[in-house]
């Protein structure tokens, strides 16, 4: 009874898992980074950059259609042989660990900055890591449901961010296209990073119950994410202007300082309060993906042994996240994680797809 649906997730939940893996703390600092490159046309760059996850989605979907029920790790071993396939998976897990330690560090820093200035960073980080292990260990179905519910919470709190837009100055957006093609193109490459999260589909694909709806679900998810990104950038530009934006580390949070609501004197606290769980969400989704890939790699029973790689990954994230000396170093490291996304999100599925055409008969056997 308990396993009537196995560990499957619905395609609707897949939408929210993708959105949840993409939208997180980056919403708070992305406007600053992108406007530094593409000036007031950053929103155009983000809009166009949504093509990056769509390409990734298309490739993963093609790949998945050829081997729908095969897990990511098994697929890798079938296509590349035992040794090379395992290396590819370990690189994937390493990418998740590296990337997530950056995200967790950001979030702990924000928490420390706004809520707990005197608590050691390690303690805050430990609580986040505990959250991640606790939820991810509950399996794919719970992750699907959690993402589903949190999406509506995120949406409700996001509406708070829209309030200050009324006080903005629309001339900050003008003239449109001033950055020129070159500026937008450079913005495009950076903005592509911010769609990282779509690559979880590599692992989650085999868990979704209706495979033919995945492509549509992915498109909807990307559309939602793009809407979030474009609106936060436009709002930040309207309120701060380009040069004003550069002065804040997390302009998204500063937005809330502008709003004056009686009784709720400091709105960003209330906002952060709701966003704490949401901050751990990309980490939950991706750490689950990584540990699932790990159990598949060792051909272990995923229900029974999921917790061990999960703890291993969480501990490595914890240690890695504590290594950088300050938050500005982490911002630089963020760029490398972005390259990692291009590797895992675009090159991986492309390689896999090419190999699946080469090993046509193996694919057919398994189909």
């Amino acid at each position: 009874m308990k396993d009537r649906n196995g560990s499957t997730i619905t395609s609707k939940q897949m939408i929210f898992i993708i959105v949840g893996s993409q939208v997180g703390i980056r919403l708070m600092y992305m406007p600053r980074v992108l406007t530094a490159i593409a000036r007031q046309d950053a929103w155009i760059a983000v809009l166009i950059a949504s093509i990056v996850p769509i390409i990734s989605l298309f490739l993963i979907d093609r790949l998945g259609k050829r081997m729908p029920e095969m897990g990511f790790a098994r697929m890798s071993q079938e296509l590349f042989g035992k040794f090379l396939g395992s290396i590819l998976i370990i690189i994937f897990i390493g990418y998740v660990i590296g990337y997530m330690s950056i995200i967790m560090r950001f979030f702990s820093e924000v928490t420390k900055l706004y809520l707990l200035p005197k608590t050691p960073l390690a303690v805050i980080l430990l609580m986040y890591v505990f959250m991640v292990v606790y939820v991810a260990n509950k399996g794919a179905r719970v992750i699907g449901r959690l993402n589903d519910l949190l999406f509506y919470l995120i949406l409700a709190t996001f509406l708070l961010l829209i309030i200050p837009a009324g006080q903005g100055d629309y001339t900050y957006l003008l003239p449109i296209g001033e950055a020129g093609l070159g500026g937008i193109a450079r913005g495009f490459v950076t903005a592509g990073y911010y769609y990282a999260g779509i690559e979880v589909l590599l692992v989650y694909y085999s868990l979704v119950n209706k495979k033919d709806e995945i492509f549509k679900a992915g498109l909807i998810a990307i559309a939602i994410t793009t809407a979030f990104y474009v609106s936060i950038i436009v709002i930040c530009e309207l309120v701060f202007g380009i040069s004003g934006l550069q002065k804040h580390l997390f302009p998204g949070l500063i937005l809330l300082k502008i709003v004056q609501i009686p009784v709720f004197e400091r709105l960003e606290f209330i906002f952060l309060f709701f966003w704490l769980g949401i901050g751990a969400r990309p980490a939950i989704n991706m750490c689950f993906a990584a540990s699932l890939a790990f159990t598949q790699l060792l051909k272990l029973d995923e229900k029974k042994y999921l917790i061990y790689p999960l703890i291993l990954i969480a501990v490595s994230i914890f240690i890695l996240a504590l290594l950088p000396s300050d938050i500005l170093v982490v911002f630089n490291l963020r760029t490398f994680a972005g390259y990692g996304f291009y590797l895992i999100g675009i090159i991986y599925p492309l390689l896999f797809l090419i190999m699946s055409f080469i090993h046509e008969e193996k694919v057919k056997q398994n189909a």
Partner: protein
């Protein structure tokens, strides 16, 4: 409802059990003396067993014996409707005339006016029948034994359900008698598809458990799962429905209630109509239904009896009450110790003025008051009603005032703890009240250690826990996660009765259609 079905008790089937079974399953002999000899070892231990020998007139008279437990059967019925007929109005010859080969059949068709009668012919069944509270009639020269159900004796009459009273609903509550409880449900649900099954749990207590569901609404998989879990119970005895609850719930380690306990037959009928399964345990006035959803515990029967707007208002208030009950003291602690700047300035001044003379940190102050009030509740629960009220008044007024003047607590803390206690008891379900009482403490500790972040952390963990919970394999936090849009009509709000055309999908069932019309009198 025939008593033969009772003998399908699962406990008798398991091999381990049969080894322990001391009563041999032999066929009964024909002679009355031999039968009594076989029974003697079982009957002599109980002083409450009444053995009444009598004769059915005739040439020669037919020897017979009636055996029953004292004060468990209806004495009046036994005397008037059974023994009187057999002893005075009945002759051996006339019985023999009607059918000599099947004496027992003839006796109960012609001479006994009680309605629930069955026959049995093995020793084990006979002994169990006696101790299950049935009346047994044995005749000389007849192998088969008559078993008559004339349950009676003293028991509580149907009363107002004390913990679930409503303004507009029925005033009837379940009592300790299983058959009467089933009848209370049946009176409200006359559908021939309402299945009533009885089984016996407990090797020694042999407690009857009734399983109720609507055959063409309830999901067969869930029905068989619940039955399987009840069948797997193998213990020497149960004395309350809580035993069954703890055996069939999915996660015993969770603090959230996973079956819905009710003492109202109308609530039970409404639950059955939504495809749930009702379980009533003999000797407990609290029945329960499974699978249960989280939102159910915030819903009260009045939500459906009152008009939509009132019930929505009250229901939303109850959700707020749940949040306040769990986290109001925690918020106070977090704000005062970590983010006092979030409190409006004037309020903060009066807070700190009230706290100047209290020597403890705010968490100690709040913890002490919280534990005292929890103990007051516990003390009031056990005491007789009059003294219980006194305890409440004494602790409420005198203790609170004394604590303030002794500078042990500030008035604000007492106010805040009291508000959260009141909010706790605004919840309609007693099991959810227990959960909130238990949740408040860890949240207070988290708030004291990590401030608002601690509360957010606690909430997130509770939320993730709720999402992961299942009740008989059904997601517990539905329709919120997984989000089930059609069911939002009856979750945090309740829409108009006419608009609730379909049964909620959160509980799997076979027949979605609830109303034939779309509210305008047209057939859909």
């Amino acid at each position: 409802m025939r008593f033969k079905s009772k003998q399908t008790a699962v406990t008798n089937d398991s091999p381990q059990n049969q080894a322990k079974e001391t009563i041999p399953d032999t066929k009964l002999p024909a002679a009355l003396k031999e039968k009594m000899q076989m029974l003697t070892p079982y009957l002599q231990k109980g002083a409450d067993i009444i053995i009444r020998p009598f004769f059915i007139e005739g040439e020669p008279p037919l020897e017979a014996v009636s055996i029953h437990l004292n004060k468990i059967i209806n004495d009046e019925t036994l005397n008037q409707d059974i023994l009187r007929h057999l002893m005075f109005n009945c002759r051996r010859e006339s019985i023999l005339e009607r059918g000599a080969d099947n004496l027992v059949e003839t006796i109960y068709k012609t001479s006994i006016t009680a309605t629930q009668i069955s026959k049995l012919d093995t020793l084990a069944a006979l002994v169990h029948a006696i101790f299950d509270g049935l009346t047994v009639l044995m005749f000389d020269g007849v192998r088969e034994v008559l078993v008559i159900d004339i349950h009676g004796g003293e028991f509580r009459s149907i009363d107002v359900p004390p913990a679930e009273q409503t303004m507009r609903g029925s005033r009837e509550g379940f009592i300790e008698r299983l058959d009467i409880n089933i009848a209370l449900v049946r009176r409200r649900l006359k559908d021939p598809n309402l299945v009533v099954e009885k089984t016996i749990i407990g090797r020694r207590t042999r407690t009857q458990v009734g399983i109720l569901y609507i055959d063409d609404v309830a999901d067969p998989q869930i029905v068989s799962e619940v039955k399987k879990r009840i069948d797997q119970m193998d213990l020497d005895g149960i004395v309350a429905s809580g035993y069954v609850e703890q055996f069939i719930e999915d996660s015993p380690t969770s603090i959230f209630p996973q079956v819905f306990i009710t003492e109202r037959p109308d609530k039970m009928a409404a639950m059955l109509l939504e495809g749930r399964i009702g379980i009533i345990v003999d000797n407990t006035p609290l029945a329960f239904t499974a699978p249960a959803l989280f939102v159910q515990f915030i819903q009260a029967p009045e939500d459906y009896y009152e008009k939509t707007f009132f019930s929505n208002y009250i229901r939303i208030l109850r959700y707020i009450a749940l949040l306040i009950a769990i986290s109001f003291p925690a918020f106070y602690i977090a704000l005062l110790s970590y983010q006092p700047e979030l409190i409006p300035y004037d309020l903060l001044i009066s807070f700190s003025r009230a706290r100047t003379q209290v020597p403890f940190p705010v968490i100690i102050e709040a913890l002490v008051m919280e534990i005292i009030i929890q103990l007051v509740i516990e003390a009031g629960l056990r005491l007789p009603q009059q003294i219980g009220q006194t305890v409440g008044v004494v602790s409420g007024i005198i203790l609170g005032q004394a604590a303030i003047s002794a500078k042990l607590a500030s008035p604000i803390v007492i106010l805040i703890i009291s508000i959260s206690i009141i909010c706790t008891y605004a919840l309609p379900s007693a099991s959810m009240v227990l959960t909130t009482r238990l949740l408040r403490l860890p949240l207070m500790l988290l708030a004291a250690t990590f401030g608002l972040f601690g509360i957010a952390f606690g909430w997130f963990v509770v939320q993730a826990h709720l999402i992961g919970l299942e009740s008989v394999g059904v997601p517990y936090f539905a329709p919120l996660a997984p989000m089930r849009y059609p069911d939002l009509k009856d979750s945090i709000i309740r829409t108009f009765m006419k608009k609730m055309n379909q049964r909620p999908v959160s509980v799997p069932m076979q027949d979605r259609k609830r109303q034939g019309t779309d509210g305008k009198g047209q057939q859909k």
